[in-house]
Each structure stands twice: as structure tokens, then as C-alpha cells.
Symmetry: C2
Subunit: 315 residues, 2 copies
């Protein structure tokens, strides 16, 4: 339902936008930018010849190339849409092509590491405004994207303290135009918030599914058969892209380990309450967690889909 | 859509069925048994005068009473539909009323503890066939039940080794008639299987929501705001009934602590892999967990609703 995006702009926000990495996110930005007239020209850059060929077939960009430096040459906004682990290498490759005044951004689920990887490669006069659209689906590749992916989702910007206000505002306007609610915070704070709201939940889900698969007393077919009792929803996120998630954990190590440590302390308390039959402690916690649930419902962030932040269907 | 239940039987399976505890499960059994003509007479027993009055208003039983011993007097099937923690007390109360040859069953999410609590109170000549329908919703009380709750859900029977075959077959037929897929296993094995497929996932969900609520570096409103990144689905099960879940953890202590221990060992390995940057180990696990996910999808146990075994709407 592209009509949810609202009408196209009469004048584009940017002259030329270059997208590096045309997977789900990159191709969704291309489609939305085209649909909303956010850029006069859209350049798609990808390391894979096959992806570049497919982008040409789909016609979702004005130009498509595997040459990073050449691809970013005319861009006044460059967005890295690659796994967090390769941001540094990509930044190095694009460095010779960046034009003065250009804004560089990204879409990574981790921010401090991206800043540390990318910043050293940016020439003076190039602005850096890291971004994280909290959106996605289970699917990947240039065919998976759709123009409304970011509609009504949060996009977090983590500009460095010395970032030019105008550059931040232009990136904010870009995401707001695609329907996102834009929030600004520090990269460090972003990484803490996402560690508890996204990264650790994913880690736990992967882990519980792995533990279940290794049991010798319970067969895998029993786990599958009786998964409706709660386990099933854990498997859903445990089917997410392994490479993307590996990079997230490796690059948000400190915050993930800190949150995991706290979680383990709390689990130890719960286990102790169970072992010693302290029903009141359990009841208190189970009652308290309802308040957060109510908060989510009242903020309209509850949806019937168990998408863990990923859209299941285009809309 | 009661038509999914199939036609009513010409002759009932039981002369008189007594249900003790008329909440979601008890009232759903009453409705299904009535609809399918599984019993000539349905007696509803509840400790609460208000519930008994409501059952009379709803007309979902032929008789409703707070007197346990009197209520079970004519029953050839008695089903305990009370929290796992009070099964022993209820069994003691019904003991004087049970007639010879009667079958006693239950619906608890834990089985070994229920057997230990109930068995001592059963006179010789009374059969005991514990059962666990893996079904439910977030709602409770006699108004919450519906006749198709058990349709296409698993029901696990855990008869003692010396149980009379005929009694087991009659309970199996009762649940099969309500649309359930019936499986038989030992009470001990049931408690292990459910610990990993249901109890520990719920415990983890309660725990992660509790941990998030206690953070001093991330505000509760941030947790709520960015919950779509994965956290949201944990809050859903963390809103389940506190009393029911307290009893489950206290009464499946050994299996829950064993599974939690294994989970913690595996989390420790994962944390170590993250700390030391062992990306291959992470990638291997994340790839392996996809197989279980595929198994769930191919077994048709995947649904679009994140219901954690609970139906969200009657159907």
C-alpha cells in the first residue's frame, strides 16, 4: 500500500543519493526514495555482479555499479547498507570518491563500532550522521525490499557531537519523509538500548533453540511437536540472518555482555526462588512485568505479528 | 466456528462428567462436552460462589455447586481444572464423594507433582489418568472459555504404569472427540519436555522484562519505545497469569532448574565466543537453529499468531 507513504515531493531533498549494499534495506530505501522523489538521482552500489544486474532488471536505481569510489562520486548523501562487520572496508573503498560537503550515513544495528570503523576514512568536509532504522523482515536481497518498510518505525540517529546541524537535519528529513519517527541519541546510548531491546533477546532466542536441539532426554521431534507451549516464538527470531547477527554481537560486545551479565544475575535469583520455593518472589516479578506490557500496548507498538521488528508482508 | 468440532455424538462417552474449577479450561471443556454430547450430565464445581452463579447464568452445565464431594457423587469422569498448587487439597475434598470405577483426570501443565499430590487421596477402584491439554488463551474465568479451544492442539496423557487400559482409552477418546491430538508419555518425561518447550521460555521472558525494567542506564520508556526490535514478543508471554505460572515453576522445580542450568552453560559459551570474537562459533549456532525452525513450519505447528500456546481469539 504505497499510498500510506503520502505524496511525492515536488523538489527532491537530495540531488544524488548513493546506496552501498542493495539488500533488503538498501533496496527499500531506493524504492522509497524513488517513490517519494527524495533524490534526483539514485545510484546503487553492490560488491556482487549478480545483485547489480538484478538492480538493473528491477529498475529501482538510475545507475548500478560494483565500483564504490565511482558510484559515490556525485552523491550528496551516501548510505552504507552493509553488514556492520564490513563498514570500515567499505568506507575505505569509497574514500577516494567522496565529494566535499557530502553526507555519509549508514543503517547498522550497532553504532559506536560503525563510527570507529568509518570516521577515520572520512575526509575533512564530509559529514557523518550514523542512522539505525529499527525495521526489517526475515527476507533479504534486492527483491525483498519495499517502499513502505520504514513507515511508522523508529529511526535512531547518532550524530557525533561536532556534527553540523544542517547535515543532521537533512538526514532526519530523509527518514521522516519515508515515514519513520526519528530519534537522536549518542552512539553509546543507542548500543545500550538496542542491546536490551533487540540484541540480547535475539541471543537468548538463538541460545534456547540451540540448547533444546542438544538435549539427549527430549527428542528434537518432541521439541518441535510441543513448541506451541512457548518455544515456537523463540524459533522465529532464531531463524534470522546468521551473518548480520554474528556481526551485531561482535560489534556491540560490551553492551551485550553487560546486559547478558545482568540477565544472568536475575536468572540466578529466579532459579534460587524456584529451588527454595519462594512463590511470593516469583509472583511479584510476574505481576510487575505486566506493567511494561501495558506500556507497549498503550504506545501502539504492539502488533498482532510476532515480527521481532521485522515486517512479514509489504504494506 | 463450532462447526469445526464436527457433529455431536449420538451416544455420550460418559454418563456424568464433573469439572472442578470453572475457569478458561474448565468452562471450555463444559462447552465442548455439551456441544459434542460427550456426557449426559455435566456438573460444574467451583470454590467461588460468584463463579457458580455465573455458570448457572451461562447455562454451560446441568448442575453447579461449591460442594466438591457432593458434586462428584454421580460422576464417572472427574477433571480437576485448578492451578497445579491446589490439586492435592481438591483431591482430598473430593475423596468422600468419588464412586467406584470413576476416572479422575486433570489439566495441569505439570504432571509428576500432580500425581504425587492427587494419587494418595484416591480410593482403590478409582482410576487416575492425568492429562495436559497444551492450549489456552490470555483470558480467564468462565466467560473466557469456548468449545473449540482444544481443536487441533496436543493433549498429553501421563497414565501411571498400572493404569487400566480402558480408563486411558476413555480419556483419550474424550480429548480426541474435542479435536485434540492425543499423545501418551510418562509424567517425568512430560515434565522435561514441557520444561524446555514452555516453562523455561516463559521464565526467560519474565526475566528479561524484569531486567529491562530495572536498568538505570536505559529508561523504561526507551525499552517500550524500541521494543519492536525483538523485546516486544518477550513481553507478550511475560503478561501471562502470575499465579498459574508461579505454581508451574514451583511444581516442576527439578526439570526447570535442570533445563535452566543447561541454558546457562550454553549462554556462558556464547558470551565467551562474543568476548573473544569467535565469529565462526556464533555463525554455526545461528545457522543450526534454522533447522528446528524449518521443522516447526513443516509440522504445521507454525501459526501467524504469537500465542505461545494460547489462542487469542475463539474460532
Amino acid at each position: 500500500m504505497p499510498e500510506r507513504l503520502g505524496p511525492a515531493r515536488e523538489t527532491p531533498l537530495f540531488e544524488c543519493v548513493a546506496l552501498i549494499g542493495i539488500g533488503l534495506i538498501g533496496s527499500s530505501i531506493a524504492r522509497a526514495a524513488r517513490h517519494l522523489n527524495l533524490a534526483h538521482q539514485i545510484v546503487a552500489i553492490d560488491a556482487s555482479d549478480a545483485v547489480v544486474a538484478r538492480v538493473r532488471e528491477l529498475g529501482i536505481a538510475d545507475e548500478a555499479t560494483t565500483d564504490v569510489a565511482a558510484g559515490v562520486r556525485d552523491a550528496d548523501l551516501v548510505i552504507l547498507c552493509v553488514p556492520v562487520g564490513v563498514c570500515g572496508r567499505v568506507a575505505e573503498a569509497m574514500k577516494p570518491g567522496l565529494k566535499p560537503g557530502c553526507i555519509v550515513s549508514d543503517v547498522g544495528s550497532v553504532k559506536a563500532s560503525v563510527v570507529a570503523q568509518v570516521q577515520p576514512h572520512l575526509p575533512a568536509g564530509v559529514h557523518f550522521v550514523p542512522a539505525h532504522p529499527v525495521a526489517g523482515t526475515e527476507h533479504s536481497g534486492p527483491d525483498a525490499g519495499f517502499s513502505t518498510l520504514f513507515h511508522n518505525r523508529w529511526c535512531i540517529l547518532t550524530p557525533p557531537e561536532d556534527a553540523a546541524d544542517e547535515a543532521v537535519e537533512r538526514v532526519r528529513a530523509f527518514w521522516a519523509a519515508m515515514g519513520s519517527n526519528v530519534e537522536v541519541m549518542s552512539a553509546q546510548h543507542h548500543d545500550l538500548v538496542l542491546a536490551i531491546t533487540s540484541h540480547v533477546p535475539h541471543l537468548i532466542a538463538y541460545n534456547i533453540v540451540g540448547t533444546a536441539a542438544d538435549l539427549e532426554t527430549v527428542t528434537q521431534s518432541e521439541v518441535i511437536k510441543f513448541s506451541a507451549g512457548g518455544f515456537r516464538d523463540f524459533t522465529r527470531i532464531a531463524a534470522s540472518d546468521p551473518t548480520m547477527w554474528r556481526d551485531i554481537f561482535l560489534h556491540n560486545k560490551d553492551a551485550v555482555l553487560e546486559m547478558l551479565g545482568r540477565l544472568n544475575e536475575d536468572i540466578a535469583l529466579l532459579a534460587r526462588a524456584i529451588r527454595w520455593g519462594e512463590g511470593d518472589k516469583l509472583h511479584d516479578l510476574f505481576t510487575r512485568t505486566r506493567a511494561i506490557r501495558r506500556g507497549i500496548i498503550s504506545l501502539g507498538q504492539e502488533t498482532p505479528e510476532p515480527d521481532f521488528g521485522r515486517r512479514r508482508e509489504s504494506q
